[in-house]
Symmetry: C2
Subunit: 197 residues, 2 copies
DNA sequence: TCGGTTCCGATGCAAGCGCATCGGTACGGG
DNA sequence: CCCGTACCGATGCGCTTGCATCGGAACCGA
């Protein structure tokens, strides 16, 4: 068994390159040659890892979805001591990718979302991710609702959908410069505060 | 002064073609040749109307922005008899482009938003539109707040930002199939109902 | 040492892109 | 009537794209 390379690692490396390029020039500025150059591998290597460009993009989308999801998860387990309401705030903040250091991820995410509107296979991946996030938010809202003294007739699933859509919308508006990150943060937390009265 | 053609009309015609193509295949599937074919004019005519492809895209974005804005405006003046709160609901519904017949506009809008994240000139056009919409929503929220018996400590501008972001996020989620239009509609109106307690 | 297997990087290819060019066409003033 | 001008459609060019190909390098077991 001769030379073996770390295919999984290489795929991740290439996915990172795709994200960097999509951040800089948009998804349509991503070409096989540029990806290869950015990842410091040859074009042949890229084509060996992914049979087609679309396969590469789908993998890249899965890659960054995974990263974002992991960060949300990590944020949740890092702050278990406080209330479910606080945890919800942290999760929402992470999801909206408001921190400057995640601006790149946000841009890539937006590029993929736009592409998903016309690409069935990308849409499937995205839908799965949104479903997972919505489920997690629904659970958090339910828990926070139980802990609260106030018991308003909240529909946790509906509130989760609203929160997810709000977070996405705010991210978008920050990206195109309509809102500052600070303004978006304020809007988000005012909304959360409104949930418990 | 020989033969004169209606340049403005032709530009609009081409813009419509751009929108149709962007709806079907995404913004990066829009090529000069296809636009010309769809608009039933020659490529030369397209190039005469717009010096460059980017100029054409910017004009197309302005065109659909105008249409959406007009529809919101029309919806507002069509229902003056009811309360400001109702008007707000109508405006928000229009903005989120939830009706199936406006799905195409929504997709085009999303494509432009994604592109604007990396294109400065597109971003400027978009920002101007969002600013106008936000202003209108702020005014409506203020009026509705005055008319209400309840006077909660609402920040009209912040609520307008939230509403705009929520509408955009919902539109996006409907487009990629995460939510049905009905679900999005429910979320939107639940949010609006929550504003007046 | 060496044979065999696995991989990869350079190159080729057809198609499609945006853009520039130009001869023909149709119109309107004199 | 007819000429000059404003317009347009077809065509060409240079370039880039995604994808296919293949000779040789790299590596491990014997």
């Amino acid at each position: 068994m001769p030379r073996q390379v770390d295919h999984v690692g290489r795929r991740r490396l290439i996915a990172e390159a795709v994200c960097h390029l999509a951040d800089e020039r948009g998804l349509e500025g991503v070409t096989l040659r540029d990806v290869a150059a950015r990842a410091q591998v040859s074009m042949g290597a890229v084509q060996r890892c992914f049979r087609t460009k679309e396969e590469m993009l789908v993998f890249a989308l899965g890659h960054i979805s995974e990263r974002i999801m992991e960060r949300v998860q990590a944020r949740l387990v890092r702050s278990p001591a406080q209330s479910a309401g606080t945890a919800l705030g942290h999760a929402a903040t992470e999801i909206s990718l408001l921190r400057m250091e995640h601006r790149a991820e946000a841009r890539v995410w937006l590029a993929f979302v736009a592409q998903a509107a016309v690409s069935k296979v990308l849409a499937r991946t995205l839908k799965a991710n949104y479903a997972t996030l919505q489920e997690a938010l629904t659970r958090l809202i339910s828990e926070a609702g139980e802990g609260s003294d106030h018991t308003p007739p909240l529909d946790p699933q509906r509130e989760a959908r609203a929160l997810l859509a709000l977070a996405d919308g705010l991210t978008t508006h920050v990206l195109i410069g309509h809102l500052t990150p600070q303004e978006a943060h304020n809007v988000l937390h005012a909304h959360l505060a409104g949930l418990w009265e």
